[in-house]
Symmetry: C2
Subunit: 343 residues, 2 copies
């Protein structure tokens, strides 16, 4: 990329990045691709409904290159966007990338980032079909992802939760926040050991969106769904707002990821702060009718994920987090969240 991203080097770099992402494209996707990258626009022929989500990640705001390898930055950028499609119950389809490259990132670095993105695309069955490359003062990543479903009725919004529904969550919570603590404070590794610490860091750096579980939840009767990017507390509040209901979360029921307890203790933080307010676990939170719970749980298990009831939906507004001692306020972790995480 040299001193600046001139016109010629821009085309060279685009060609290199295209070869990285196109070399990794896998089989057929849910939409026919008539024109891939390199023209004025990519052309696809979707068979039914499309779900589209956009995100922007900015160095120093959403990630720091000091602690996040570029490959992980690329992986996570796409994975986090695909998590929005998982939360609709969509199948991953196409992805488009805008890349703003600062002067201190060379073509090898940009390629490493693209390689991580391509690896996440391969893992999730998404195809990167287009992009735009520019100079920028800091590393800037725009993501657009398009998912597919046979019809709009097969997709699940945040808005369908009903009083009487159960609140369920996939997988485990707090791992990504514990991984962030481990990246920031390597001495905490002693509390959990090297292998567990590595798994938690990976959970932070290279999350896997719950696309299969999202489709299973949508197909088996979830009434409302959201992915946990901001953290359980914040995202449950979004679900409550969109559905115009009140959500009660029983903190004792949270599936806290292995090692979170130990990392939190060593850091002097309540593990529930990590599990309920930590964010970036990219698990799915859904509302299901009580009579659907067994069916939904089996469908999600077939996708390799556990599903845990952690609360219920009531008439009203807002969110209450309760444990044995009554209602809890977990705003404390916001302080940790408000500064840039490593990725």
């Amino acid at each position: 990329v040299g001193d600046h991203l001139g016109v010629e080097s821009e085309f060279d770099l685009i060609a290199r990045l295209r070869s990285v992402v196109e070399g990794r494209a896998t089989g057929d996707g849910p939409a026919e691709v008539a024109v891939g990258s390199g023209d004025d626009a990519a052309v696809t022929v979707p068979a039914g409904a499309t779900a589209t989500s956009v995100d922007m990640l900015i160095e120093g705001v959403h990630f720091r290159r000091e602690t996040a390898p570029l490959r992980s930055v690329g992986w996570k950028a796409l994975a986090a966007s695909l998590s929005d499609l998982a939360a609709m119950g969509a199948e991953a389809g196409e992805a488009y990338v805008q890349l703003g490259i600062p002067e201190d990132l060379d073509a090898d670095g940009a390629t490493e980032l693209a390689d991580g993105m391509a690896a996440a695309a391969g893992e999730c069955g998404a195809r990167i079909l287009g992009g735009d490359v520019s100079r920028a003062p800091v590393l800037t990543i725009g993501m657009t992802v398009v998912g597919h479903a046979p019809g709009a009725g097969e997709l699940v919004t945040r808005a369908g939760a009903q009083p009487g529904d159960l609140l369920v969550v996939t997988g485990e919570l707090g791992g990504a926040a514990a991984g962030l603590l481990l990246l920031d404070r390597p001495e905490l590794e002693a509390a959990v050991g090297k292998a567990r610490a590595e798994a938690l860091r990976r959970r932070q750096l290279e999350p896997t969106p719950r696309l299969g579980a999202g489709r299973a939840l949508a197909a088996s009767g979830a009434r409302a769904m959201i992915d946990l990017s901001d953290g359980l507390a914040g995202d449950a509040e979004h679900l409550a707002g969109a559905s115009e209901v009140r959500i009660l979360v029983d903190l004792n029921e949270l599936p806290v990821a292995e090692g979170v307890q130990e990392v939190a203790a060593a850091a002097g933080i309540d593990p529930l702060e990590l599990a309920a307010a930590g964010g970036e676990d990219y698990e799915l939170l859904a509302a299901v009718a009580p009579e659907s719970l067994d069916r939904v749980t089996r469908a999600v298990a077939e996708q390799g994920a556990a599903l845990r009831p952690i609360g219920r939906i009531e008439a009203g507004t807002g969110l209450a987090l309760t444990d044995a001692g009554g209602e809890r306020n977990l705003a404390g972790f916001d302080q940790l969240r408000s500064r840039p995480g490593p990725s």
Copy 2:
């Protein structure tokens, strides 16, 4: 936006920006919208093929706030992206925006930008369905636009030009580059007068994509098409490369916009530099079979645009720009293009 874009103010600003762009949405678009902005993803049901293009605009690289009003920055960001859809012959559909907001841009400024974007959407029949807002070191705009056509076969790529075809261009060239000169050097206004200068500046700041002409070109037989964002010379080279042909441009035939001659003369620049290498005119360049020329010209005229033959397609590779004196090299204008324009 206060000192920084905290979580609460981010949601407030998003709500304000949503009200700006949603209040301006017009009638029905080419795809049914099942879920608009505010959920994990927007859901649409396209009827046929979709064309998707992404762009990123970065302050100091693509525009400067000193010379471009924020409303124009927003207008142009969307208009330039929609021009990519015009170049496919697609109908404008949905748009998605990622907005990176620096500390020195307040909520009113962001709203002004959104208002310009909404105005361009209204003018072009596009609907802004979603977005993402973040802090950023400089004003950063990511655009994703989705266009529609009954089938992929109705869309025109850069790759279909054939030896023997004529090269045609819509509208007029050089206006946007002359407008850029006028914005940078206000004293040049004396050469053309206030009204003409204003029209040229507007051509630079708030271009109108040729969506109607693009559809007319596609429907009446254009074999390859590209929009003029980089400038005729650069974009013709892209068309030649994608079609694996040689393109000959007769510079004497270029439809130079009114006032360009005078501004160029006052600035001591060859007007052909502005018309052939200036960029950002967002006209359409296409290859048509000679026997289609009359039909294509009438179809484009019905959309209110002139169409001018300016060259021809031969077997071979590359691009030649010729005038009475033989082949010309218009690389000189690159120097002007390589520094940030006002928008």
